[in-house]
């Protein structure tokens, strides 16, 4: 496996030998990974290989058992609670099932980060929410409640909420899981558009959808058994002979990746 071509000193996120277990279940086993600024990085791997746990480490929602996570030059393990809170303001996160607040309307959900952290008038908040909902094509749903939305719409609202405060790092946790192929393509296109509209932003997409990964990624890491087993540009993943990658990309049952 070749080393990452990105400079860790100027990276958005660096994982340096990260280990994490939950009870007897070892999830991350020496993860080394560099997420560059201004690019879309996709982390692929089978379910249960620690992709979502990796994202939660990046935000400091989970602490590693060993190793370091460095975000925008700051070692998360050395930060106090309020410093970590301030750093989190520079993130946006799109959760697997959107994680919208059930008791709040679409407008209130999307306005939430602004109301918490920026002193804006109601008119300014409304115009920012309308602009970002227009970007995800959901202007008509502004007064709806999350329970009235389909899965794809919820994810788009989740994306609107994540980008409303123009974060430096945008994390997507399996953004297309559970969607039909057309909605999947729509969300993938939205991810690519969002990256184009925010050129300085680092995006990290955790996924096991290879078609989407090839569409949005500038760089891909493949995780297996809690560490990086392959990395490179999408073209590399299309052409490599690495049997691990080939089995995953082609979705074959036979190969070095065991199927329980």
């Amino acid at each position: 496996m070749s080393a990452s071509p990105f400079d860790p000193q100027d990276a958005a996120i660096v994982f340096d030998g990260v280990f994490k277990s939950f009870g007897a279940h070892k999830v991350l086993q020496g993860l080394d990974l560099v997420v560059p600024k201004g690019k879309c990085t996709v982390i692929i791997g089978r379910s249960g290989t620690g992709k979502s746990v990796t994202l939660k480490h990046a935000m400091g929602l989970i602490q590693p058992d060993a190793g370091r996570v460095v975000v925008l030059g700051k070692d998360l393990g050395a930060l106090k609670r309020d410093e970590l809170q301030r750093l989190r303001l520079r993130f946006g996160m799109v959760f697997q099932n959107a994680a919208l607040f059930d008791s709040l309307s679409v407008y209130e959900n999307v306005a939430f980060p602004l109301r918490e952290h920026e002193k804006l008038t109601e008119a300014e908040t409304l115009s920012r929410v309308e602009a970002v909902l227009a970007q995800v094509g959901l202007s008509f749903a502004i007064q709806k409640m999350p329970s009235e939305l389909s899965g794809g719409m919820r994810k788009r609202v989740g994306l609107a909420r994540a980008i409303i405060h123009t974060p430096d790092i945008l994390l997507y946790d399996e953004p297309t899981t559970g969607l039909d192929p057309i909605l999947t393509a729509q969300i993938d296109e939205l991810i690519a558009e969002t990256q184009q509209n925010h050129p300085g932003m680092a995006s990290v997409v955790v996924s096991h959808d290879m078609k989407g990964a090839f569409m949005v990624a500038d760089y891909i890491y493949m995780l297996h058994q809690g560490k990086v087993v392959a990395q490179g540009e999408p073209e590399h993943f299309k052409t490599t002979d690495d049997p691990l990658v080939r089995q995953f990309v082609e979705g074959r049952l036979d190969g070095p990746i065991g199927v329980e």
Binding site: K56, M59, L61, Q85, R86, R88, L89, F91, M93, F95, Q96, N97, A99, L100, F101, D102, F112, P113, E116, H117
Partner: protein
């Protein structure tokens, strides 16, 4: 064999200490953050309405019948030696000192404490708690603080209403139904019951209200797994709060009496 026994006991002790520690941390931080910005009047009003106004009917109905059944039993007992007129004062003292705060808190635990555990637990399993943290909002400050404040403020109010409606229930059963003299019934209440009785009852109710909300939030935030975990947390919130309120009430009353604050 002995080694395994010691290990088992040790593990159980560690588990209890860990759980108490996590409860103490959430309860203390949930209370402390009430005094630090950001202040959240809208969320506090919502919780005051949820804990207070929405518990009103259940508290009034149960209070009326608690007073009624208590009067029924007391009047029968006192009637054995011709002292039925003491029914009112006995019911009043019991309700205002202990039964009002305790029973009222148990009713609110069943209605609001369980709902807090279920709501926060559901937020946990659907990653809404993670979403709060991801948006740099402290879930304890956002979710726990308004709830513990609402518990501490509204349960005493409900408890006072519970005691009042309980006295009314006792009057209705004793006077019109059982034929006890109304003037003597009220006169004995004025003779034996002091404002101090109600005062300490309200202090207790405030503590129990804080406690039941803190336990509900703690159980909700501790949920693991899916729907089953939420169900388990809800049940545990009710069981832990109820037992804690009953045990605490005994020691609270004992200490107040020993200090001469209640006679």
């Amino acid at each position: 064999m002995i080694k395994r026994l010691i290990e088992g006991v040790g593990a159980a002790v560690i588990r209890v200490v860990e759980r108490f520690g996590s409860f103490a941390e959430i309860a203390a931080r949930g209370t402390w953050t009430l005094f630090t910005p950001p202040y959240r009047p809208r969320l506090i009003l919502q919780q005051l309405e949820f804990v207070g106004v929405q518990s009103l009917s259940i508290v009034l109905i149960s209070g009326f019948f608690t007073g009624g059944v208590f009067a029924l039993q007391a009047a029968y007992g006192f009637g054995l030696f011709g002292a039925e007129t003491l029914t009112g004062s006995t019911v009043t003292l019991s309700l205002s000192r202990s039964l009002g705060p305790v029973f009222c808190s148990l009713m609110v635990t069943g209605r609001a404490g369980s709902a807090m555990a279920a709501e926060i637990g559901t937020m946990k399993v659907t990653e809404q708690i993670d979403a709060l943290e991801a948006m740099a909002v402290d879930p304890v400050e956002y979710l726990v603080s308004p709830r513990v404040l609402a518990g501490a403020l509204m349960v005493p109010v409900l408890s006072a209403l519970y005691t009042g409606i309980g006295m009314f229930g006792a009057y209705m059963v004793s006077v019109p139904y059982m034929g006890i003299d109304g003037g003597a019934f009220l006169d004995r209440i004025a003779w034996y019951a002091d404002p101090e009785d109600l005062h300490w009852g309200l202090v207790k109710a405030s503590v129990y209200g804080w406690l039941l909300a803190a336990v509900g939030c703690w159980k909700g935030l501790s949920v693991r797994g899916g729907a089953q975990g939420v169900g388990q947390a809800t049940t545990e919130a009710v069981v832990v709060s109820s037992v804690a309120i009953l045990v605490l009430d005994y020691f609270f009353t004992d200490v107040l009496m020993k200090l001469g604050l209640l006679t």
